[in-house]
């Protein structure tokens, strides 16, 4: 598997939060903090990546993630190209590898990739030329590391240190790249406890071995937690015998006001979006003062700026820092 760190332990690519040293995770959060200042100014731009070209290569539809990556790149003064491949070449029979080589021939510096196949970002990182960085914007069910980092950043802004925190992730863990990246990242920064709350049909086998406590009873799982992260439940999960109905799911696992009361009084509620009101979360909870869902979106820009600049900052010579 392609290494995401170079010999000096700096980011070459950003593919997964799994196995990343704590100091790298902390540095991403610290860098995001400094960029938060930038994007709150009236002139929201720094010249860090002037002259660099970043290609957003999205094989799956996305609005929020692609937009915040685009904004982040523009705030860093990079040139950005958006390519939506769902409607482009691979449907014409061009292979992923061919497409990559063509885009590379355009002398870009970074691919931001979203793809439906788990492992796609690693595959691309294995095949790009050495001066190109790859940032994973979501691959299958595997990883969505910038989402996890913006979530960590949001948690830290509201809660401070991670060591004392209990974090509950609720919902469709099985299909969630977000959950996997969150578990690795939270454990990486030494979070007090990570809880996963879901029926068995939505939990992958041996998920506890990633470092989490599994609950099937949401009331027990939410008790005294500091952070609640609800995951999106896709409608197609009702097919395939994973769940009987949205109604029953909401009754058993929906984040309602009553359930929110089981958590710490100052607990925050998060969601990677887009939310299904009345399915995974009660409307009133999504809009309550404890909800930080819109902060997450804002923080996504600073966090993605941090990751992009860290990957490219030491690549001045165009040959890259890694082997």
């Amino acid at each position: 598997m392609s290494g995401q760190l170079d010999e000096q332990g700096r980011l070459r690519h950003f593919l997964t939060t799994e196995g990343l040293p704590r100091e790298v995770l902390e540095r991403i959060l610290g860098t995001a903090e400094s960029f938060s200042g930038v994007i709150e100014k009236s002139v929201k731009k720094v010249p860090l990546l002037r002259g660099r070209t970043i290609i957003n290569l999205f094989f799956e539809p996305s609005t929020r993630t692609r937009t915040t990556f685009e904004l982040a790149a523009k705030r860093l003064s990079a040139d950005v190209l958006n390519i939506n491949v769902a409607t482009s070449a691979t449907t014409k029979g061009e292979s992923l590898l061919d497409m990559l080589q063509n885009l590379q021939a355009m002398q870009c510096d970074m691919f931001v990739v979203r793809h439906a196949d788990s492992g796609a970002a690693h595959f691309i990182a294995d095949h790009v030329s050495p001066h190109v960085s790859v940032v994973n914007a979501g691959d299958g069910r595997h990883a969505h590391p910038t989402q996890a980092m913006l979530d960590l950043y949001t948690i830290r802004r509201h809660k401070g240190d991670f060591e004392s925190l209990r974090v509950a992730i609720v919902g469709d863990i099985l299909h969630s790249r977000v959950a996997r990246s969150q578990i690795h990242a939270l454990n990486g920064v030494g979070a007090g406890e990570v809880r996963l709350i879901a029926p068995r049909t939505l939990l992958p086998r041996d998920i506890d071995r990633l470092g989490a406590h599994v609950y099937h009873d949401i009331d027990a799982g939410l008790r005294d937690v500091d952070v609640i992260i609800a995951l999106r439940l896709q409608k197609e999960r009702m097919q395939g015998a994973l769940l009987p109905s949205e109604h029953e799911y909401y009754r058993l696992y929906g984040i309602s006001r009553e359930r929110l009361a089981l958590a710490q009084p100052d607990a925050i509620v998060m969601h990677p979006g887009p939310i299904n009101r009345g399915v995974e979360i009660e409307s009133a909870v999504a809009d309550c003062p404890q909800s930080v869902i819109l902060d997450q979106v804002t923080n996504g820009i600073a966090t993605r700026m941090a990751v992009m600049s860290m990957c490219l900052e030491h690549r001045e010579d165009g040959t890259g820092g890694g082997a």
Partner: protein, 432 residues
């Protein structure tokens, strides 16, 4: 026909238990004497086997030759040559060709192409059902008469239990062994690797062990019902091997094989999204791998096969889940089998038995034995000659192997089929 003497090699015939330095004499395609030369025997060719192990030619129960259908990946001619270089003298191509090997015309095409190649003997497997669709029986008597040695589901399990029952009964009537792949298609669909904590980490949909055991349980119930001789292909799990052992203890007429790679790799080898390790059934857990090795040693699993699936480069130049499953296995079958001896899992004779006489016995063919009167199929290998599996020197056209770069001992020097030299390794160079 040439008379051949194989002189001074360490002759190991697992079927008879022979393990001695001796001479072998071949005439009229057969072994005519082991030990002293028969009276008046004058060899046309004298093979110096000093320092070599002389064993029966290997019998491989599972190969995909890709012809007809996928000749951009490999051809019968290319792969029987590769098999000969690997010491394999008989092989069974899967009926999952395109068109499916469900009619005598296809069987004849395969055997004719194989004959023209003048290499390893090809013993086709006929399709159990037409088009491998699992609905209508094939003309098994005709397939048998055309040269099929068994009938098989070709890796596409028969879903309808009534059809499967009748297929077993009909095959047994034609005195054909039925080869079944125990995989529940619903538990396998849309998944690419063993379901366990590695698949959880990678976010890749997993195939549970129950895909194998649920299918095995159903098949075993039908074997019990029908008494039909049945062979289970590509067992991948500890629980699956235990079910086979129990069925054999209960007296059911069942045998089983395992793909060589299952004895050396596990889910951990997929952990970097390695498309070369994308196989079906999937590489399972470390405990499964150990149990499979023990089952081979105990003889619960009688045969080790290559499960040879050569691919073009594009088939694997994709993400794990978009890649095609399969390993090109002919080049490494003997070397991997003998590694089990190095790993102290079994002795040399037992290991060789699993790729010679025991595999032949699954089909009920008189192969894989060094016995007077038997076809003179031999493999001569140097037991301690190191070599490296490299893409540019692989004999198969398919270069897709997770074993590339592995160092092996046991290098094939000669391969003989029915007293004819298929392959000889000369100093440095090779001549087929």
């Amino acid at each position: 026909m040439k008379a051949i003497r194989v002189r001074g090699g360490r002759v190991i015939d697992p079927a008879s238990g022979l393990d001695a330095v001796t001479d072998i004499h071949i005439a009229n395609k057969q072994f005519v004497s082991i030990g002293a030369a028969p009276a008046g025997f004058i060899p046309d060719e004298d093979i110096d086997a000093d320092g070599l192990v002389v064993c029966p030619g290997l019998v491989d129960l599972a190969t995909h030759l890709r012809e007809p259908g996928d000749t951009h990946k490999a051809t019968i001619a290319s792969e029987v040559q590769a098999a000969a270089r690997g010491g394999i003298t008989c092989l069974c191509p899967s009926p999952a060709t395109d068109p499916v090997t469900d009619a005598t015309a296809v069987v004849e095409l395969i055997t004719r192409r194989a004959r023209q190649a003048h290499m390893t003997r090809v013993m086709p497997l006929g399709a159990l059902t037409r088009g491998l669709q699992g609905q209508q029986l094939t003309e098994m008597a005709a397939l048998r008469d055309a040269g099929c040695v068994a009938v098989s589901d070709g890796g596409r399990p028969v879903v309808n239990s009534l059809v499967l029952r009748r297929a077993l009964e009909y095959a047994a009537t034609q005195d054909l062994v039925t080869i079944l792949t125990p995989q529940d298609p619903h538990l396998t669909a849309g998944a690419w690797m063993h379901e366990g904590w590695v698949s959880t980490r990678l976010g890749v949909a997993g195939i549970p062990v129950a895909a194998e055991t649920a299918a095995l349980a159903r098949c075993l119930a039908l074997v019990e019902e029908t008494g039909a001789r049945t062979h289970f292909a590509r067992i991948s799990s500890a629980r699956g091997a235990a079910m086979i052992a129990r069925a054999q203890r209960d007296g059911l007429p069942v045998t089983a094989d395992v793909a060589a790679h299952q004895l050396f790799l596990s889910e951990m080898d997929v952990s970097g999204f390695n498309a070369q390790c994308h196989v079906l059934p999937p590489l399972r857990g470390e405990a499964d791998r150990q149990a499979l090795r023990e089952a081979v040693a105990a003889g619960t699993i009688q045969a080790i096969c290559s499960d040879h699936q050569p691919h073009d480069a594009d088939a694997k130049a994709a993400t794990l889940v978009a890649s095609e499953p399969g390993i090109s296995g002919l080049d490494s079958l003997l070397a991997l089998t003998l590694r089990l001896v190095e790993d102290d899992i079994m002795d040399l004779s037992t290991a060789l038995a699993r790729v010679t006489c025991d595999a032949a016995d699954v089909l009920g063919v008189q192969r894989g034995r060094i016995t007077v009167g038997n076809p003179a199929d031999l493999c001569l290998f140097a037991p301690a000659e190191p070599w490296w599996l490299r893409a540019d020197t692989m004999a198969s056209r398919g270069r897709n192997s997770p074993f590339l770069g592995w160092e092996f001992s046991a290098r094939v020097h000669w391969t003989l089929l029915e007293g004819r030299i298929l392959f000889r390794r000369d100093n440095g160079g090779c001549a087929g």
